[in-house]
Structures are given as C-alpha cells and as structure tokens.
C-alpha cells in the first residue's frame, strides 16, 4: 500500500534557504542544494521548494539553484512561489521539477489550473491554499495569508480539483507557527470533499502531532513542515520510525 509522506519545505530567498540558519551538522546551513541533499539522504519522501523572491534576478537565481538540486536529487520535487502563468510552469519543469504548486496565481487567474492541467497533466498541478476561519467559515487568504479574498475555501478547493488540480496543500493560518498540532478539523473538511491527495501544512510541533494527523484524518496523504525539520526539533528518520511503531505505513 502506498505510504504516507513526510515533506520538508524549503523557502528560498535570493538563493538562500530562509529559516535554515540553525541547522545542525551542516557548515553552510542555508544552501538549498546542501539542505536538499541532506533531506534526501535522511528520509524525506519529497521536497517542496518555495521561491519567496520578488525580483527577477532572484527568480533567475532560484531557477539555476533548482536545476542544480534536480541534477543531484532523485526524489519528487515540487516547486511553488511566483507561479502565475503556464510559462512559469514551463520554466520550473524544464529545471527538473515534477509538480508545480500554485496559490495566489490561481486566485488572480482562475483559468491557470485548467490550462496547466491540460498541458502537463493533473498530477503536475498542486493547489496550495492558505485558509483561515473567519466567523466560523473557512476563507481563502491571498498574499501570504495577509489578505482575505472572501472566497469560501471548500468551494474554491472543489472548483480547482474540478479544473484539474491533482493534489492539495492545505495551509492552516490558524495553526501555523503555533506548534500545537495540525488543523485536524480543517483537514477533515477538505478530505471529505476531494478525492485527490491532501497534504497537511501548518502546526506541526512534535512527532506526536504527525501520529495524531494520520490517525485522526485518514484521508491525509502527507505532512509538510519547515522549521521543525530545519531546526532539528524533529528529525525525519526518527519521526518515520515512530510513525511505523504507531502502525502508520512509511517508506523506511
């Protein structure tokens, strides 16, 4: 049976990994290539690279780094950040990305998901969505979680899956950074309305949070986190061993 996945997320700005500065055992802790190699050798099932650069020079540098990563690391790579057009898909796919994650780009241009899915296949298009409760309703937020779009999150997700999004990353703004566990209620709501893989993001603080995630929300396929892995608060090999001990199917 297909395993649950553990995915570290690397935010890259001007060629360096942000939040990577406290990484144990590595000399150059903010090198995307070195971090990616480290994770690949230490049990990561997939890597997500997020380009948080705004400048075009930064974007060019990101693309070069991506090529270098993809020429050394042979596990699935997802790339997001600054994906607004099909040309952006093309740019990162040519550098060895396997999946492309869209967020604000899809909100600005609702045709993007469909267009990209038709050209590259559903499996290539990942919808990343930042969700926050507003008066008890799940709303989609844009611009890195700063702006309420007013859109109802479950409807938005359903619509994008209908248009060909092959995987959903659900980032709960409510639990993000709190380190008290994933947003089980929100994830359950999403898993109930879609039949594509769902990746949980936001809130992981310890190993137990992943056990709770996979045991409580059976439809969730993967857990994504950044700083707890970068700061070695949770080591992926130990995490996966712990999950297996708790009868969760993992690639060891």
């Amino acid at each position: 049976m297909v395993t649950k996945r553990i995915i570290p997320c690397l935010d890259v700005k001007d060629g360096r990994v942000v939040k990577g500065t406290n990484f144990m055992g590595l000399v150059d802790v903010s090198s995307p290539v070195k971090l990616a190699e480290y994770y690949s050798k230490n049990g990561a099932d997939e890597l997500v690279f997020y380009d948080i650069t705004a400048s075009s020079e930064g974007r060019k540098l990101f693309t070069e780094i991506l090529c270098e990563v993809a020429s050394k690391i042979f596990i699935p790579l997802t790339v997001g950040g600054g994906i607004n057009t099909v040309e952006d898909f093309d740019r990162v796919l040519k550098c060895g990305a396997d999946k492309v994650s869209v967020n604000s780009g899809a909100i600005r241009n609702p045709g993007l998901v469909e267009e990209a899915a038709k050209r590259y296949g559903d499996q290539c298009v990942v919808l990343s969505v930042d969700v926050k409760r507003v008066d008890g309703v799940f709303r989609v937020f844009a611009k890195g979680g700063r702006e309420n779009t007013g859109m109802e999150a479950l409807e938005w997700i359903k619509r994008c899956v209908g248009n060909g999004a092959g995987e959903i990353v659900v980032n709960s703004i409510d639990t993000d950074g709190v380190k008290k566990g994933f947003d089980l209620e929100m994830l359950d709501a999403v898993c109930n309305i879609v039949d594509v893989p769902v990746i949980a993001s936001g809130g992981a603080g310890c190993m137990e949070d992943f056990v709770t995630l996979f045991n409580s929300v059976k439809g969730v396929d993967a857990g994504l986190a950044a700083s707890i892995f970068h700061y070695s608060e949770v080591e992926i090999p130990a995490l996966k061993k712990y999950l297996v001990e708790n009868n969760i199917n993992m690639r060891i």
Binding site: V2, T3, A70, F74, Q123
Partner: protein, 205 residues
C-alpha cells in the same frame, strides 16, 4: 551508450541527470541513427497514451525501437514508456502499442476497488513473484524496497512477463520483462537510491 528517446513527450531532465549520476554514458535524442547506434534504449513518457503513441509514430521511432528490440538490444520503458510496450491500451478508447510485450493497458479503477485515490501516487513497496527468479534489473534490490509511482492505468493480462508488483487495492503490475525488453510502471529517476540501483543494473546488462 544509452539512448534516451526524445519524441517531444515529457521532461527528460531528471532521467538524464540520474543516468549521469551513476556514471552512465547517455544521450537524449530523437535521431534514428543515434538510437540505432546506441547499446541500449530507454523509452520515457508521461501524459496520455494516444498522444504519446502518435508522437512516437510521427517521428518514425516506433519502428526503430521495435527493430532494435527484435535484434536483441535492451530496451527499458518507464511509466507511459512501459505502457507503450504493450499490444494496446484502453486509455480513452482503444489504441495500438508497440506490441513488444504481450498484454494490454487498463484503468486501475477496474481492479483496485472503492475508497482508494486515483491516480496511484506516491511511494509503494515492490514484491517479486515467488515462482520466478529475481530479474537481473533488480539484482541490487530487496523485496519491499520502495519506488515512486504516478499512474492511473496499469499493465493487465501480462502474467508471464510480470517481474514485480505493488499492492494498491490489488497487486498492480510494477515492472515487466520479456527477453531483452523491460518496463517499469514507477519512476526509477524519482525513486532515490533504489531507483538508481535499477538504472545501474539496466546499464550493466
């Protein structure tokens, strides 16, 4: 020299890089001469069967691959490249394949039962058939090693050539071999160390 067949389908960056990383001499080419002169042929592919099979025919490379395979040259199809080795596919209609491996390509929805997501995407364990010797492309692998899958269709009615399966609601065909023709439903170029070991073994054939 390994020729990675370039017929305008999919992204060959990772495949090329993974071959380079194991020190294999490889060239990505859609040129008949290059493919005929290579020692081995690697047929990649992503996307829809009909579209890919048409593109391969339009390049005239379907005949080249079949000719070379019949001469005994090792051929390895990956993902959709594996599916194209079969006689036919039932992905959106009925389409003719290369016919190098007996069997057909059918939707996994017919066999996996309800409650499982389609496509079958992610890491899954390989099992080797008990009644056969482990195939030489798996000589560096162990039963239960994990590889990375992304597919909604599978090789059916091909029992004689199945050399590995993965359990996903059913024992799905994970790899096939018939003489010098090999196919992997999963992506060795995305399966970490395990995948590289398979490519290495193919290069050593």
């Amino acid at each position: 020299m390994i020729a990675v067949v370039d017929y305008g389908v999919g992204n060959l960056f990772s495949l090329k890089s993974s071959l380079a990383s194991i020190g294999a001499e490889a060239v990505v080419s859609g040129d008949e001469k290059v493919i005929r002169n290579a020692d081995k042929i690697l047929l990649p592919g992503v996307g829809a069967f009909e579209d890919a099979a048409r593109k391969l025919r339009e390049c005239g490379l379907d005949k080249v691959i079949c000719d070379e395979a019949k001469k005994g040259k090792p051929v390895l199809g990956i993902c959709l490249g594996m599916q194209m080795l079969f006689e036919k596919s039932f992905e959106y209609g009925e389409h003719k394949g290369l016919g190098l491996i007996k069997g057909e390509v059918r939707p996994i929805a017919e066999v996996i039962g309800e409650g499982l997501k389609i496509p079958h995407i992610g890491w899954n364990a390989l099992s080797f058939p008990k009644n056969k010797e482990k195939n030489e492309i798996f000589k560096y692998l162990n039963e239960g090693d994990f590889v990375y899958f992304v597919h909604s269709y599978y090789g059916a009615n091909c029992e004689d050539s199945v050399i590995a399966t993965s359990e996903y609601g059913a024992n799905l065909t994970a790899a096939v071999a018939s003489g010098n023709v090999y196919g992997c439903q999963f992506h060795p170029e995305k399966s970490g160390e395990v995948g590289l070991k398979i490519l290495k073994a193919f290069c050593e054939l």
